[in-house]
Point group: C2
Chain length 293, copies 2
């Protein structure tokens, strides 16, 4: 059945009926706003979006489209060392869309929300005369005021990345796992000077971290952790790895590497380079620019 | 100059350079997330969107496109009796868009944010191969736990609307003023059983309020406050009035009407009907359905 046959209210009612909500949520989807209990302190806020033909192919499994939309915003909360809490979904679709397709997008959104203990508390549904548009806004919290921005990196810091890089277009760009537990563990136990998630590729994202921190960078190109079959250029430029990139002082190296292996034995951690004096960055190519032709 | 000539980072840097932020904001646009100070208690969350060709014409003044996007979400916070706090903007545009056009959209977003003391703290910018998409996610707070949902209406309650209805397509749909002060005043001084903002027209929105409250409704059709030149059908079905619709017990009538006129002398308040027993609603036509053909 098509959305135009069901009508807006029935579509929204069916999609939001079985949403997982914890006790913090006083009022979920269906009213003008959601109402949630907050504890005070520092809150994280981020919105992101994925668009048909840009971030996913129309032929992709809609469950993984929903998963990706939710996990991109979760990954941004992770990138600060935060815990994701509540999500709002804004969806624009053609009225001729099949309801079964949309239900599977919601299955993906809900599966991701459940995996990361996120409440899907509402949003908006509208018709689009063009490509499908799916935006997720996310709130998160920070423990004891500790979070990692992009701007605290210092000359001499070591640069690490989690996991492996490159080749996400083969499928990982849809099915990745945001590094929430890893990032929280890092900011709570180590002096993480700067951190971000790798969404546009190391060649775009590392210069952003360095620019925000007013330092330069060097990368040990021979040391990049690459996915099987990927070249160094794939690792630098492909994007959508959603791994963590972070900077810690060299004094943290020994303890960090020892404890990482025992805490996250299945996820690789690699020292890939260091922050250096401002103005002397190595050229590592260009990553993804959303507006480039 | 086109966005594709400037590149993503330069576009975002220029757009977010002069954003108004109050002292609650520890970190604004430019990092993975915004970081804001929260006080604890009940938080309101809402996201909304407007799409080129659906919610605005490509020929519209971009300043008012930005104003509308921001004010729709503010209006949802108002509809609960809340105070809007922080906004995230998610924007998808064609890379061939002129930067001057986009700067004017941001002028509208910022003007609205300033008018309602909202912090624009971040979001996301992406390329769209189709129509322009502009989504605003908003947080808000509630004083002393008092807010009005749609679902508390009771049989016998009187129904009121603020302002006048109908004919918004002539321009008010872009340039409206969310009723934040009025709604906060209402929930703090009167037993508002249910409230919402009128976005899809009284004929769509009143049945939603009644359904959420499990009651019916009656409207004094001769009593609808209409904009000049509007018919009763315009008042019921046009949508995008962004006025408040609310239900209070009849015992509140005298004090409410007397104090309203002295507090908001320039804004009309009209008793338009009442909530009745479930199942006996009057038929008042059909309002806007986003998915209807």
């Amino acid at each position: 059945m098509k959305l135009s046959e069901l009508g807006e209210d029935a579509v929204v009612a069916q999609l939001t009926r079985s949403l997982r909500l914890d006790r913090r949520v006083e009022l979920g989807a269906g009213d003008d706003c959601a109402v949630v209990e907050t504890t005070g302190g520092l809150q994280l806020l981020k919105s992101d979006c994925i668009i048909e033909g840009v971030h996913f192919s129309p032929a992709a499994d809609p469950k993984w489209i929903g998963w990706k939309a939710m996990c991109r915003s979760i990954s941004d909360i992770a990138a600060m060392g935060g815990k994701p809490l509540d999500a709002l979904v804004t969806l624009a679709v053609c009225p001729e869309t099949e309801f079964t397709w949309l239900k599977r997008v919601y299955l993906g959104l809900q599966t991701a929300a459940k995996s990361y203990a996120v409440n899907l508390v509402g949003g908006e549904t509208a018709k689009s005369p063009g490509p499908i548009f799916l935006s997720v806004a996310m709130t998160g919290m920070v423990k004891d005021g500790r979070y990692a921005s992009r701007s605290g990196g210092q000359k001499g810091d070591l640069l690490y990345v989690t996991g492996r890089l490159g080749g996400s277009i083969a499928g990982r760009h849809l099915r990745f796992h945001p590094r929430v537990a890893e990032a929280r563990w890092l900011v709570q136990r180590f002096p993480v000077h700067a951190m971000m998630d790798l969404s546009d590729g190391l060649a775009s994202d590392l210069p952003r971290l360095a620019r925000a921190s007013r330092v330069g960078f060097e990368v040990d190109l021979a040391n990049l952790p690459l996915h099987r079959g990927c070249s160094r250029e794939n690792g630098l430029q492909d994007g959508e790895d959603y791994e963590l990139l972070f900077a810690v002082p060299p004094t943290a190296k020994r303890k960090l590497e020892a404890e990482w292996w025992t805490t996250f034995p299945k996820l690789r951690l690699t020292a890939i380079g260091r922050l250096v004096e401002n103005g002397v960055s190595q050229f590592i190519g260009k990553g993804y620019d959303h507006f480039a032709r």
